[in-house]
């Protein structure tokens, strides 16, 4: 034909690149940061570069959004849904990077590699939420998980992070194995690895998931269930959350879980997995047990990080209730709840980070004593209200949001999830949600009650340790998160408008 096709081709290449720009920028900044760290080893410029890369990537989302929904090769689809979650991941990574700086010793210590790993993990998350093919699914997942092993065990001279890292390594490896096997089995039946093709094949009249396909789907759900810490597969969560450095815990709780859930939702809707009766039944059972077990086990804990770990298990259970409705409202509900969950968890672990001494990269000898652990025992928070009122206020707001009390995003999120559940008449999961959040109140209130205990008891408390004062960046971040939490909790309409746009592509 004429020159037209080639012009078209270069045109489409151009828009492909624009559509991919958020991911390309993330990858690019990882390389730039690596080179920068190799030639000029100072954490401050490295962190600044990281933050700049994240901001650029976030800004390019708007560029990419202008093109509209776009399938880039068979592997990735950059629709509004993907862009929304990439934005969420990039923003969360930004917050985590800010929180890491003082915690890992500021300009005194050599922790530049941390930022490279963070960027790579964010890239993995971004690929996950945009993937429409098993290959990119696995690629994103491994990129995320492998960066996470290193991040969890980053303070490598301390016992707990190392232990947590190894636990995570073994479980993540195991779950990836399950996932791969599941994908292989689905491929064996259907002969394709593209989500959309799987979906169309299954809607064909005489096609349905046979035993193979069903087993494959079950294996995939199990693999993802490990990553999401849904209940029969949740054992690793509290240990890893407790052992990992606090900002990295925030990253696992938000980015890693959020990306997986976004992917799972896309897979279910595109590949038509929600039409499979046994799988949805199993998932609703998982949702109910996740909610109940998560909340009940949280009651037994005395460690803030473990309480938050079980609380995050329960929150994922709530998310599944919305997830199970499988309609446009459900996607909106999941997206809103996840956003609320991101803000809340980042805020809560942010407070834990700020209160902890952090790790000064123990290689530097006596002058930088390595902290044995984070400030994560309940006693560390006694009467926080009276000697650090702002910090306690932020933490209270986050806990109330997790409990779903009005004026916070958590309330609107829970309302959204309940709306989706009631609309789809999922009565049993909805009742489990109500019962679960009533139980949950108890441990959130317990933390709040400890924080507002009279200060006279705290002074005699032998466990009180000198607490670090937060850096400017940390204070600004926490304040911004709290304001966002309340602003979007009172005026959610703006975010809902955005979400309504993201849903269109997926259904």
């Amino acid at each position: 034909m004429n020159p037209l096709p080639s012009a078209l081709h270069s045109d489409s290449l151009h828009s492909d690149l624009v559509a991919l720009s958020p991911l390309i920028l993330l990858a690019g900044s990882a390389v730039v940061v690596m080179l920068a760290a190799a030639f000029y080893r100072h954490p401050r410029p490295v962190m600044m570069l990281t933050l700049a890369g994240l901001v650029l990537s976030f800004a390019s989302l708007f560029l990419s959004q202008g093109i509209g929904s776009r399938q880039v090769t068979a592997l990735l689809v950059l629709d509004h849904y993907a862009l929304f979650f990439i934005g969420l991941i990039v923003a969360a990574t930004f917050v985590v990077a800010v929180l890491c700086y003082r915690y890992f010793g500021g300009s005194e210590s050599r922790h530049e590699a941390l930022y490279i790993l963070l960027l790579l993990a964010a890239l993995g998350g971004g690929v996950l939420v945009a993937s429409s093919h098993f290959a990119s699914f696995l690629l994103g997942l491994e990129l995320l998980s492998i960066s996470l092993f290193a991040l969890i065990a980053y303070p490598r001279f301390t016992e707990r992070p190392l232990e947590a890292g190894i636990k995570y390594l073994i479980l993540a490896g195991f779950s990836s194995g399950l996932l791969l096997f599941g994908m292989a089995v689905v491929y064996a039946q259907l002969g394709t690895m593209q989500f959309a093709k799987i979906g169309t094949m299954l809607t064909a009249p005489d096609q349905a998931l046979e035993l193979y396909g069903l087993a494959g789907l079950a294996l995939i759900v199990t693999g993802v269930g490990f990553k999401l810490a849904l209940v029969p597969f949740h054992m690793w969560t509290p240990d890893v959350y407790e052992g990992a450095p606090a900002p990295i815990t925030a990253f696992i709780a938000t980015v890693s879980k959020g990306a997986m859930l976004a992917l799972l939702l896309r897979y279910f809707l595109m590949a038509g997995a929600h039409q499979s009766q046994p799988i949805t039944l199993a998932l609703s059972l998982v949702a109910v047990t996740t909610i109940l077990v998560g909340n009940l086990l949280a009651l037994l804990q005395d460690n803030i990080k473990r309480i938050l770990a079980y609380s995050s298990i329960a929150q994922l259970g709530y998310l599944l209730v919305g997830f199970l409705a499988f309609d446009p409202l459900a996607i909106e509900a999941v997206a809103y709840f996840l956003t609320a969950y991101f803000v809340t968890m980042l805020g809560a672990f942010g407070v834990v980070t700020v209160l902890s001494g952090g790790f000064n990269n123990g290689s530097e000898g006596e002058s930088h004593r390595v902290a044995e652990r984070d400030s994560d025992r309940l006693a560390d928070y006694a009467s926080l209200f009276w000697h650090r009122p702002w910090l306690a206020g932020v933490f209270t707001a986050m806990l109330l949001s997790l409990a779903g009390i009005p004026l916070t995003m958590g309330f609107i999120g829970k309302f959204y999830i309940l709306t989706a559940g009631v609309e789809a008449s999922l009565w049993i999961p909805v009742i489990a949600l109500v019962v679960g959040s009533t139980i949950g109140l108890f441990y959130y209130l317990r933390i709040i009650a400890v924080m507002c205990a009279p200060s006279s008891q705290a002074i005699t408390e032998p466990t009180m340790r000198p607490v670090a004062s937060p850096s400017l960046g940390e204070s600004v971040t926490l304040a911004a998160l709290t304001l966002l939490l309340i602003w979007l909790g009172v005026f959610p309409a703006q975010l809902i408008d955005v979400l309504e746009g993201t849903v269109v592509d997926l259904t």
Binding site: A403, I405, S437
Partner: protein
């Protein structure tokens, strides 16, 4: 506009008094007093404005309205409206606000700014509950008022405050979530029928649904209101919370928060689900009558002054529940009257308990005795409000209980006679309270100073209102029948017209 002002004045006043505490330790309470003072003046002005409208027999019922878009995605709007019954309850809230600031004047010394923030925000939440006519907004305020109340009990409460505050919060919040599920179910039933997604009270009235759906949805609402009201099997949080709360907290709990429960029954349960409420009424009335007797008997067995008063609340509000479910003009008027009169008289008894505790550091009635000779003014006030609580004619409680019994007799003569037994029981506990505390010899050698002029003014104004309610109850009763505009009441009124 004025309706949102009623809420925002309290919110802003709370923030202001919190900040005021920074530059002067005494500033917080003056700011708080000014705030509730303005609120009270405003509500009384509203009442006077609307008094003429309410006296007309055939008015539309709604005196003022404010509406603004909030979350269009769900058809949620910021919709406030006021009719006679919400007006009366808002006036009660504002008045008890003044009382509770006055009774914390010397009691709260530590972190006063934060205390008044919580106090005023609780009041703001309660006013919001009384005014909201959008179900989402209603639920929003319903949950919102719990948090500051939780802090009031957990920080400034007495010995066992942790237990009491957490129990209070879990009961209220857990039952509230059932209501949220019910609200959503109602909204979606309406959406499927009409294609309109809305949380607006007026649009959801007369939603068509099958009897069993209606019953289930109603039960969700009922549980939330039954916990707050309180109706008997759900009342166990109440004695703990009332006993452990600081004085102002007890006054607000008894006077305002409990009223939100019976208000919810009156405003939402019966009008939204007339059929279901109709065949559920015998159960609800039986529970109410049980509460009346059970509360009175348990009150008699208490040795803790505040705990005794707390159980009398269970008994008194049982009458309100009976009146609401009997649903005829007399019993409804009686229920509203009972809500107001109970707010004042029980509030006053808690103020007295607070004064005693502040001076003697105990609430154990076995350690009081013969206080009449030491504090004659306080003892006289105690006698007055104890008598008012037992329902002596001439005081507000009598009017309420009498009207409820009269209305109830038409619905069920058996329950009416059972509930009437409570008059005997209440005499027993009220007089036991007076005798154990004030009569006898001063064997413990108490030397206490009597009421200050601030305390005297508080209690005297409450006494005056109790007498006014008892001697000239018409203004409150004018406000009550508003609610009777909905279908079942129309039928009842019709019957009555025929009978005459």
């Amino acid at each position: 506009m004025i309706l949102s002002a009623l809420i925002f004045i309290l919110v802003a006043g709370g923030l202001l008094s919190w900040m005021a505490n920074r530059w002067h330790p005494d500033a917080a309470k003056w700011v708080a007093l000014a705030t509730v003072g303005i609120e009270l003046v405003l509500t009384i002005w509203l009442w006077l404005q609307s008094a003429s409208a309410m006296a007309l027999p055939a008015h539309g019922g709604w005196l003022a309205e404010t509406r603004a878009e909030w979350i269009p995605r769900f058809g949620v709007s910021f919709h406030l409206a006021m009719d006679g019954i919400s007006l009366v309850l808002v006036v009660l809230t504002a008045f008890l606000g003044v009382v509770s600031v006055a009774c914390s004047w010397t009691e709260i010394q530590e972190r006063a700014g934060f205390f008044y923030l919580n106090l005023l925000w609780t009041l703001a939440g309660a006013v919001g509950v009384f005014l909201a006519v959008d179900l989402f907004l209603f639920f929003f305020f319903w949950e919102l008022m719990l948090v500051p109340m939780y802090f009031m009990i957990a920080i400034w409460g007495h010995e066992n405050r942790q237990y009491a505050s957490i129990k209070f919060f879990i009961f209220a919040e857990g039952s509230g979530l059932f209501m949220l599920v019910s609200i959503l179910a109602l909204v979606f039933v309406h959406y499927r029928g009409t294609g309109v997604l809305t949380f607006d009270y007026f649009e959801l009235l007369n939603t068509a649904m099958s009897p069993s759906t209606e019953l289930w949805i109603m039960l969700g609402f009922f549980i939330a209101f039954a916990v707050k009201a309180p109706i008997v099997p759900f009342h166990t949080w109440l004695p703990d919370a009332h006993t452990e709360a600081p004085t102002a907290g007890s006054v607000i709990l008894a006077g305002v928060l409990l009223k939100t429960g019976s208000y919810g029954l009156l405003r939402f349960v019966v009008p939204l689900f007339p059929e279901a409420a109709g065949y559920f009424a015998p159960v609800a009335m039986a529970l109410g009558a049980t509460g009346v007797l059970y509360g009175a008997f348990l009150a008699f067995a208490q040795t803790d002054f505040k705990r005794l008063v707390a159980y009398t609340s269970v008994s008194h509000l049982g009458f309100a529940v009976l009146g609401i479910f009997a649903w005829n003009p007399w019993s409804l008027g009686g229920a509203v009257m009972q809500m107001i009169a109970h707010g004042i008289s029980t509030g006053a008894l808690f103020v007295i308990a607070g004064i005693l505790q502040e001076r003697t550091h105990t609430r154990d009635m076995r350690r009081f005795e013969g206080l009449w000779s030491v504090m004659p003014r306080l003892a006289a006030m105690g006698l007055f409000f104890a008598i008012s609580a037992l329902g002596l004619p001439g005081m507000g409680n009598f009017v309420g209980e009498f009207l409820v019994l009269m209305g109830l007799y038409r619905a069920s003569s058996v329950l009416a006679s059972v509930a009437a037994v409570a008059f005997v029981a209440s005499v027993v506990y009220a007089l036991a309270l007076v005798q154990k505390t004030f009569h006898g010899e001063n064997t413990h050698g108490w030397k206490l100073h009597d009421l200050s002029s601030r305390e005297m003014a508080t209690l005297c104004s409450m006494a005056a209102i109790t007498l006014w309610l008892g001697l000239y109850p018409q203004p409150v009763l004018d406000a009550a029948p508003d609610i009777a505009n909905s279908p079942p009441a129309v039928a009842a009124a019709h019957q009555e017209g025929n009978a005459e």
